[in-house]
Symmetry: C2
Subunit: 195 residues, 2 copies
DNA sequence: CCCCAGTCTGACCGATCGGTCAGGGTCTGA
DNA sequence: TCAGACCCTGACCGATCGGTCAGACTGGGG
């Protein structure tokens, strides 16, 4: 044991997560992060190639889950796609509230960065699934309102425990989604992860 | 007539509105705005005291309408408050899509500026009204999801005409809002502005 | 004619940004 | 004891930001 094992890398990551959620990505300087950790700005840039790499490492777990949700959605249509999309996204948003809060608002600019190249397309497909792959404006609008609103709610209600937030959002999503004629294989009263 | 009456002030305002909607308030520099207008940065700062004053003048009409909606909400309770809040906010968001898009994401930072001092409290009251002044987490969550989602949808669906977007959002809002036991004085099938 | 108010500009300012770099400490294994 | 990997830092860089300022240009009224 060498006295508390510094783990500066992890501390920087944690400090960045805190600051990004409060002041946003652009609104947080490397200097701010270094100050909270108690090291120099150069140290931050020793552990991370650049500011973008810091963000990318912070977002990686959430992005992995988003990608796997995208895989689950592949091939599903109609009401089944809507239900899986609603459950999957609510679960993701609640679990990764902090990451959602970071991306909030700076989505368009952040998506330009190579680390987040495919996020836009994935979230487009997610929105499309939530709309039951329908072309009706009402369905498309409802899907967008839900995705954006759920994200915002997760970022805002940090004081509400997961187990309370998740069912409330899921109930809301099911109520708000524009119903599509294709029936579900079985009633979605319990959680069903795989098809 | 003195050849086309420059109206630099208005041109700067219009250019700022365009750029703010695309790259955000912080993401747009005075240089960018000046370049689009075809004047110098110093000219921008001759017509507007500072960057914040430019934003304030841009937002003034939307804020006026928001304030009058806040007045309408005063004293209403239960389902009546929910209905007026839903109608009022959907109408406001659709009409002022551009302004909504500007504020999107930079809300927390922008609210610190003196010009937007009371916006936070007004939007809190609006959210509370949309929740029917209920304390139930479900109602509060639904209200936040709706407000955030509707804002985002208005900023995103710029290509959809007002007359199509407004009823779709209103239908969605009525479907998604957590019902409150207090009944409406009369069914809200037609628009009713005043009590 | 001059004067003045309105409009506009280039040059400049201090602050801050993300990022680089040479070098100093410290620990470890040969 | 020494080499080298690892960790960290102060000093510095160019770019860009919002904002200031002295002065140039213009048109109209006395």
């Amino acid at each position: 044991m060498v006295r508390a094992a510094p783990d500066t890398h992890g501390e920087i990551l944690a400090a960045a997560a805190r600051q990004f959620t409060v002041t946003g990505y652009r609104g947080t300087s490397l200097q701010d992060i270094a100050r909270e950790v108690g090291c120099s700005k150069a140290t931050v840039l020793y552990h991370f190639a650049n500011k973008e790499a810091l963000l990318a490492e912070l977002m990686a777990p959430a992005i992995d889950v988003l990608r796997s949700l995208d895989d689950q959605l592949n091939g599903l249509t109609g009401a089944a796609a809507q239900e899986v999309a609603a459950q999957g996204f609510v679960d993701l948003a609640v679990r990764f509230r902090r990451e959602i809060a970071v991306l909030r608002g700076e989505f368009p600019e952040l998506l330009c960065q190579p680390a987040f190249a495919h996020i836009q397309q994935i979230s487009d497909r997610l929105r499309d699934a939530l709309a039951g792959h329908s072309d009706r404006p009402g369905a498309r609008i409802a899907a967008l309102v839900l995705l954006a609103g759920i994200s915002e709610a997760c970022a805002e209600f940090v004081d509400i425990p997961d187990d309370e937030l998740r069912p409330a959002l899921l109930t809301l999503a099911r109520r708000a989604v524009e119903p599509v004629d294709a029936p579900l294989p079985h009633p979605p009263t319990t959680e069903d992860k795989d098809s």
